[in-house]
Amino acid sequence: MQQPEQLTSLLESLASLKLTLVALVLFAALVVLIYVRDDLPSALLAAPLGLLSANLLAAILGNRSFRRQAALLVFHLALLTLVLLLAASRLSYLKGSLELTEGEEFTGTLLESDAGPFHPIDTLRALRFGNLGFRIDYAPGPLRQGIRNQIEIRGPGAVPHRIEITDQKPLILSGYRFYPTGNKGFAPSFNWQPTGGGEARIGTVHLPSYPLHEHGQAREWTPPGTALRIWTMLEFKETILAPDRWSEFRPPKEHRIVLRIGAQRWELVPGGIVDLPEGRLEYRGLRGWMGYTVFYDWTIPWLLAACLVAIGALGAHFWSKFANKPWNA
């Protein structure tokens, strides 16, 4: 007989409103800490959320008033689901970014990412799609209008087919949402042939975002298998995005690429070649690159469903309360 009493006592302690307050304060403190300090993972929030879940579950199990008030019980169960889903979300979410040159394929690698400890990263690594090109119009100002990005979905398990994504309409693959962003720019393409007959490599250099860094279109990079540091700058006189009329983001019609290695300097147009002791560098032409943000959180539709159920149940509970006892009775 002692065991059920101990269990009831434990349940009462766990259902305590004081514990609710402690969990909420802990939750708020962690939110502030994670916001202020970049090195703290948001998965830490799962701890106070778990405590809140246990607190709520104990209240549901122990409070007798729930047994005859179905709507109130449904509301609290929806609330419990909500808290558990939030905890699950912090443990399994992913946020990240990537950049793809026009014609390049996504091979599962992100530039930056922030993910929960239980995020299934292998799913992301298996995804394949190609950036076929994009168009961005600018209103006078210049003010960026909507992005229209042509994408080819290639796998896994999909028949290759093309779609268009925009700022509001992402590419969704296996629950990952890829949004095109205003972070885009120019990408000179080079062919690098190492001296001694090694394999030729084609690659692009993503210059800083345009027009954000309009006057800083330069970047330093290293050809594969060498220690060279090549400073590369895009130079053109044309106004791409005019402040007084509608225009479109596009590569300049005439441009030069300035290369510098130490004191040596070269100016190249498409097809131009630089012979170096380590190999031959050929400038192939200028393309655009697009930056994407990627977001994954499987809990979102379930969170919305739980919210709707909670709102509906609370509404039903108060409806029945007011219907039974009118305020002016």
Partner: protein
């Protein structure tokens, strides 16, 4: 007279559980049908991504789970099946049904729109279907084992005949899946071929039990037609015998063969409807006689609608030409007749079993019947206009006034029927659950379990629905593309098989292959032409003529169709028309066509034959 035989408590609870499963399936099928109606109705219609998955689940829940759960409940009540066999059978069927529905939410579950038993290509769906079939099979076997213990009333006879028909369907199902991967002539056997026989055999189960439902509902009408009452056992036997022929057919011929396919088609075409239609006509006369003395009650009005729907469905079935909306018009007529009869019957049985009846549900079956009549009429007229089946409004892109009027009527009828079914399912299920509850009268009710079930159902169901909401999910486009690719692959394989069979003079197998091609791609003139040549090989000139005409209607410059048409007309001894068709062929064909000289020789020969005629 009672709607069923009185049953002890154990049997009563088991039967109520089966009724609850059937009602849940009916309610869920209505939910999935909402997606179908929205996608089919011109003013609402969007090519919803869920259309084909919803179609598969709607058909399986409405025609398999709802009908067969009702059948199992009736078998349990009429056979007094005990819980030690009955409950495992019930749980197998219930868990199987749940698995089938759950599989619909998987992105990998690709719909296969096979005839009679459409499927989702997913292990969970297949396992669920097998589990459900096993549960129903056990219920029928247990019922058959104790069937002889009860006095042989007409209702008992109909229930027994339906169990025997299900046993036949089980034999057909097993033989269908025991067959190898190809027919003796090398034609691949697909899942549609394997389910063809059992799909047809199940129709006999449904009509036999429909006759049972009509017997219970039309008691007053039968009182006024004593000859019909005497004839009734023979009518039941007249439906059971052709059903039994299915077992013989399955043992003699393997799935995928022409004999198998045509055999089951003919069996259903000539065996399944005459006796029920005769019974319906007799009951209609009986109802008219009853109506002369008093006003018909709600159940009798519903029965009249059920009889009308069945007759309409049979008439529309006789008028089917090709793969148009006339096909769903036909089966919504017959299926609607059964659903309506079961809705009325279930309410009557519920009263007999002590289930509280909600007065608000009294008129709902008749409202459902009127809605279905409107739907059937709309689909039938649209079928006459040549609108193809298994496609959404967005797929079709038709904008004629007649199309909008007929499909609009079908949509309104569909919505009316769905609202009535949903209301009926909720109100009746509430009564059934109350009756199943072990709570003692007067005890305060603990609402925790229902609240937990409700909260979980709403959150899980809502989450799944939001997760699979069409629009913006590019993977669904990929899935659609995959389905299309699979379809094209099968069309190509079947077409090549047909050509090989045609050249090998295996005309019946060639015809089977081209028939399948036309099911998958109804607007393919090449398949019409080759099916026509297969029919010429089988000396079925009139049918061949129709196929060649079909090909030219689809593509005016389908040159070889005119050649075939001329040969078919020659076979029909219509030489002037044959000459005209062959001249059209010569006019359209190239100068170096290898058949040109044969065509010229044929024209010369036919002209000589006409000259020689007196």
């Amino acid at each position: 007279m009672s709607a069923v035989l009185p049953a002890p408590t154990v049997t009563r609870r088991l039967a109520l559980a089966w009724f609850s499963l059937g009602l849940t399936a009916l309610g869920l099928s209505a939910m999935f049908a909402v997606i179908l109606v929205v996608a089919r109705t011109p003013f609402l219609g969007q090519g919803a991504g869920l259309f084909r998955t919803a179609l598969v689940l709607h058909v399986n829940l409405a025609v398999l789970v709802w009908f067969l759960s009702m059948a199992a409940a009736i078998w349990i009540l009429s056979g007094d099946i005990r819980g030690n066999v009955g409950w495992p059978a019930f749980w197998l069927a219930a868990l199987g049904s749940a698995a089938m529905v759950a599989s619909g939410f998987s992105q990998q579950a690709l719909p296969l729109l096979a005839n009679y038993v459409p499927l989702l290509d997913h292990e969970l769906f297949m396992a669920g279907l097998a589990s459900f079939a096993l549960g129903i099979g056990i219920a029928a076997a247990a019922g058959l084992a104790v069937w002889h213990r009860r006095p042989p009333t007409t209702l008992h006879l109909a229930a027994g005949a339906a169990m025997m028909a299900l046993a036949v369907a089980a034999v057909v199902l097993v033989t269908g899946f025991m067959a190898g991967t190809a027919t003796p002539t090398g034609v691949q056997i697909g899942i549609d071929d394997r389910l063809w026989g059992v799909g047809h055999s199940l129709q006999f189960v449904h009509v036999l039990l429909l006759m049972g439902a009509w017997t219970a509902l039309g008691e007053a009408a039968l009182e006024t037609t004593p000859r019909l009452r005497r004839l009734l056992p023979w009518l039941i036997l007249g439906t059971l015998l052709p059903a039994a022929g299915g077992a013989l057919l399955a043992m003699m011929h393997g799935p995928g063969t022409v004999e198998y396919r045509n055999g089951f088609t003919e069996l259903m075409r000539w065996g399944s409807w005459p006796a029920p239609l005769l019974f319906a006509a007799g009951l209609a006369i009986g109802l008219l006689r009853v109506g002369r003395h008093r006003r018909l009650n709600a159940d009798e009005l519903g029965l009249a609608l059920s009889l009308f729907l069945f007759a309409a469905g049979c008439l529309l079935g006789a008028n089917i030409r090709g793969e148009s909306l006339a096909v769903p018009a036909h089966y919504h007529g017959t299926v609607g007749a059964i659903t309506l009869a079961y809705m009325l019957w279930l309410r009557r049985i519920g009263v007999d079993l002590g289930v509280a009846s909600d007065a608000r549900s009294l008129r709902l079956p008749s409202i459902y019947g009127l809605g279905i009549i409107c739907l059937v009429a709309g689909l039938a007229v649209a079928g006459e206009l040549g609108v193809p089946r298994k496609a959404t409004h967005a797929d079709l892109g038709v904008d004629s006034t007649a199309y909008f009027a007929t499909m609009g009527a079908a949509g309104i009828g569909g919505f009316l029927a769905l609202v009535a079914v949903a209301g009926y399912a909720v109100l009746t299920a509430a009564g059934l659950l109350e009756a199943l509850s072990p709570r003692k009268p007067g005890a305060r009710r603990d609402l925790r379990l229902p609240a937990i079930v409700l909260a979980l159902t709403l959150v899980i169901g809502g989450g799944l629905l939001l997760d699979r909401m069409p629009g913006g999910n590019n993977e669904k486009l990929a899935t659609e593309a995959h389905v299309q690719e699979m379809k094209l692959k099968e069309i190509n394989t079947r077409f090549q098989q047909g050509l090989v069979m045609l050249h090998a003079r295996q005309y019946d197998h060639a015809l089977t292959a081209f028939h399948r091609v036309l099911q998958l791609s109804p607007a393919m003139p090449e398949a019409y032409v080759n099916a026509g040549f297969a029919l010429i090989g089988m000396k079925r000139f009139r049918e061949a003529h129709d196929f060649f005409e079909g090909a030219t209607a689809l593509r005016v410059r389908q040159v070889n169709a005119y050649y075939g048409l001329a040969i078919a007309l020659e076979g029909m001894h219509e030489l002037p028309a044959a000459i005209a068709a062959m001249e059209t062929y010569l006019h359209l064909t190239k100068a170096d066509d290898p058949y040109r000289r044969k065509a010229e020789a044929a024209i010369w020969e036919w002209r000589e034959a006409l000259r020689d005629k007196p």
